[in-house]
Amino acid sequence: MRNKTRAALIGPLWVLVLLLGSGFGTPLPAQNGPEEEIDEIIRSDDPEDLESLSDLSLEDLLNIEVTSVSRKRQKASQAAAAIHVLTQEDIQRAGARSLPEALRLVPGVEVAQINRHRWAVSIRGFNDFYASKLLVLIDGRSVYTPLFSGVFWNQQIVPVESIERIEVIRGPGGTLWGANAVNGVINVITKSAKESQGGQFRAVAGDSELESYLRYGFALGEDMHVKLHGSWFDRHGFETAADDEHDWTSFQGGARLDWAIDVDDELTLQVDAFDGEAEQEFSLIAPTPPTFNRLIDDVINFSGVNAMARWRHEFDEDQDIILQVYFDHTRRNEEAFEDRRDTWDLDFQHRFKPADSHEIVWGVGYRFISDDFRGSYALGFDPDDRNYQIFSFFVQDEWTLIEDELRLIFGTKIEHNDFSGFEFQPNIRLLWNIDEQNTIWAAASRAVETPSRASHDLRLRLPLRDLGGGFIASGEVQGDPDVVATGMLAFELGWRSQPFANLSLDLALFYNDYEHVLNRHNGVPFFDPAGYPVVPLINDNGAKAETYGLELTTDWRPLDELRLTASWSLLQVQVHPVGIGSNVSEGAESVSPHHRLVVRALWNPRDDLDFSGTIYWTDNLQGAGIPSYFRLDLQVRWRPLDELEVGAGVRNLLDDRHPEFGDLLNRTPAEVQRTIYFWLDYRF
C-alpha cells in the first residue's frame, strides 16, 4: 500500500462533487392517476375493459408511453456472425466488477487472470498479456493501444453499473469495424442519460475490495437528458509466495448528455476521466554490475481523459447518417517507461436503400495518433515519439435474395496505415432462415492485424539468464521496420435454433488460417558497454498458423423462474515457424485452453429475491504448466424495497487459490483466490 495517496485521496472527493451537482435539474415528474389507469389497460394481457378502450380519446392514446421490443428482438438471431450479448443483468449476477471478469461468461473468449489487475484476454486463440488481435470499443472509442495492439485492461475503468450491454463478436469483424478486429470485436455500450435518470448509489465491500458508484441523471426539458457519474475502488492484490503486492485503486468520473433535437436528429456528448494506480513487481536489467538484474517494486500510475460527440440524422427508415468525433488522452507511467498518447478520431457513416432488396452502409474514418514515449535503459522505442494516422473506408451491401429467408452480405474495408500501407479486408456472408426455428449462416473473410509500435520500433532488453551451458546473457527483443501485417483468412459456419419457446441453441464452427504471424529470429550477439553479452531477438513475420474449433451455447428456461445456460468452447492452435525463427510463436499452441465450459443457473423464486450460480471449467495450459481449474461462484440478491437492493456473493468457492496463466515479466503470476463480497444499492 505504498504511494497510493493520489487515487485514495481523490476517490472520495467525487462523491461530494456529485452530491453538490445533483441539486441541478429536476427528475421527470411521476405519472399521475388517470395516466396510470390508461397505462394499465393498454398493457394488460387480455384487456377486459373494452368499454374504456373504446372511449379512450385520441389525445390519451397519443400520450401513452409505448414500449417496442419486437423489432429489435429479432436481430440477435438474424446476425450472420458469431455474436454473444452480455446484459447489465448478466454482468451483475455474475458478480463481475471489471470488463475482463464479465467477459469470462462469453463463449469463445479466453480470460486468464495474471494478478489482481492484469488479465490475458483473447478470442479463439493467441492469448497473452500482450494479446493483440482484438478490437475493443467503449462507446465507439477504440481502447486497444497501438503500442502493442493490445489492451491495458487495468486502465479500462468502466464502472459495471454504467454498462447497458457488451456485444462480443467472435471472428473477424473487419469489414465494418476496421483496424485490429482480427479474432473478434468487444463492443462495450454504456447506458444513455435517458436510461440513467434519478440517483443510484452502490457500495461493494469484500475481503479483497472496497468500491462505490454514484450516479445522478436528470432532464433538462423533455428532450434533453444528462447524467453525471463517478466511481472509486480499492482492490487488494492476491497473496503470492514472494509476497508481491498488486493492489489496484482507481477513481473515475464522467458526464453524458443525450439530446433528441427533433424527430430526425439525436446528439450525444460524453466526457470521462480516470486516474489510478496499480502495484507490480518484476525483474529489470540495469547497467549496474555485477548482478545487472534488479528486482523492481513498482507502482503503475495511469490516467486519461476522453470526450466524444456523436450526431445521428435520420432521413427516413431507410436512410441515416452518423458523424462521430472523439479525443482520447492517456498517460501511463511505470518504472521502465512513460507513455503519453493523444488520439483524435473522426468517423462518418451513411446507410441507405437504393432498392428494396439492398441496404448499403458505407463510411470513412480518420484517426490521428500522437505518442510521446520515454523509455529507460531496458525498454525503448525508436523513434521515441511518433505521429501516425489511419485512413479507412468501408462499404457493405446487405442483399435480400428471398424476403425473410435468404440474405447475402458482402463488403470490404480498405485501410491505410503508416506501418504497412494499404490493407484490404473483404468479407462475404450468407444467412438462411430455414424456418421459424432454424437459421444457418456462413462467412468467409479476410482480416488484418496492423503492425504495432512494438513490432516495428521496439527495443526491449531482457534480464540476464542462463541460456544453457553456463552461457549467461541477455536477450534484446527488436522491432523490425520491414515487418508486415499479419493476415488471416477465416471460414465460419453457424446454426441457431429455437426448437421450443423456452430453449435456444447457438453453434459456431470456425477455421482460421493466419500468415505472417509474429515470430522472432536471433541476430548476431554483441557485448553491451556494461560488459555482458546480448543476443538480439528480432521481430519478423516468419510463422504461419491455423486455428479451428467451435462454440456451442444453450439457453433453457424450464420454469418461469429458472434459467439455465451452458456454453462449451473448443479450440486447437497449430503454429508453423518458417525458416530459422525461434519458437516464440509456437508458444501460442499451449497458452490457450483446448476446452472451456461455463454453466449458469439463474433462479428467481420471488420478485424480490434471486440466486445465481456459475461454474467455470478451464482446461490446462500445457506449455505454461497451468493445471485445469474448476471455479464455482454463488450469489444471492434481495430487494426489500423498490429503492433498495442488497446482496452477497462468493467467487471461487471450492478452491483456496489457483493459477490461471504463466510467467509474466519474469515473475510467477499471482494465484486467483477465493473472495467474498457484499453490496448495497440504493436508488433515489
Binding site: E59, S68, R310, E317, D356, G363
Partner: protein
C-alpha cells in the same frame, strides 16, 4: 469503424417479458381515427354497416388488430378487420395499413389505386406522406404520433376532420 450508435442492435437472445404495447396503441389509433374521417359515398355508402380496416403485407399487429373488432361501433358501423397478402388484392376497405414488407413499387401502386377507390392509406414509414400517402404513424420520444397529408386525402375525396389534424406531429403537403 462502425459507430456505436449504429452498431447492430442485436438486443437480447430470448424474448423479454416486457409487454410490447406499440402495436396495440397503433391498432387503437386506426380504430379511433375512423371517427374523424368522412369517406366518399362511392366507398362508404349510407347503407354500409361496417368500416373495414385492412392490413396488406406481413402483419405486424397479430392479435392486437383483432381486439378492435370487439370495440364499440363507430358512427353506428361495426369496425372489422381484413388481411391482404398482396397489394393487388386490396379492396372493400376504408382504411388500409401498408406493412413495412411492402416494397417501393407496390407502395406507389397502392397509393394510386387507394386514391381512386377512396381508401385511407396508413403506413409506418416516415417518408410515406411525402410520397403521396395520407397518414404515417411514427414513434417520437416513446409516444405515438403521426404525419398527415390532407391534400392527398382530398384528392381521394376523403374529408379529414380538423380535430384529427390538429393532433398531427407534422402536416405534409403533397409533393413536398
Amino acid at each position: 469503424m462502425c459507430l456505436a450508435g449504429a452498431a447492430p442492435d442485436y438486443g437480447r437472445t430470448l424474448p423479454s417479458s416486457t409487454s410490447d404495447s406499440e402495436y396495440r396503441v397503433k391498432a387503437l389509433f386506426l380504430y379511433k381515427m375512423a371517427h374523424w374521417i368522412e369517406w366518399p359515398k362511392s366507398n362508404l355508402p349510407e347503407s354500409a354497416k361496417e368500416i373495414v380496416i385492412g392490413v396488406v403485407g406481413k402483419d405486424p399487429f397479430g392479435k392486437e388488430l383483432d381486439l378492435i373488432e370487439k370495440l364499440k361501433p363507430i358512427k353506428k358501423r361495426k369496425v372489422t378487420t381484413r388481411r391482404f397478402e398482396s397489394v393487388g388484392q386490396v379492396k372493400d376497405c376504408q382504411i388500409i395499413f401498408l406493412s413495412d414488407s411492402i416494397g417501393e413499387a407496390d407502395r406507389t401502386t397502392l397509393i394510386e389505386s387507394a386514391r381512386k377507390k377512396g381508401i385511407v392509406t396508413v403506413s409506418e414509414r416516415k417518408g410515406f406522406c411525402a410520397q403521396g400517402g395520407m397518414f404515417s404513424l411514427i414513434i417520437v420520444k416513446n409516444k405515438l404520433t403521426f404525419t398527415a397529408n390532407p391534400s392527398a386525402a382530398k384528392k381521394a375525396d376523403i374529408k379529414v376532420s380538423s380535430q384529427l389534424l390538429k393532433l398531427a406531429h407534422r402536416i405534409v403537403k403533397e409533393g413536398e
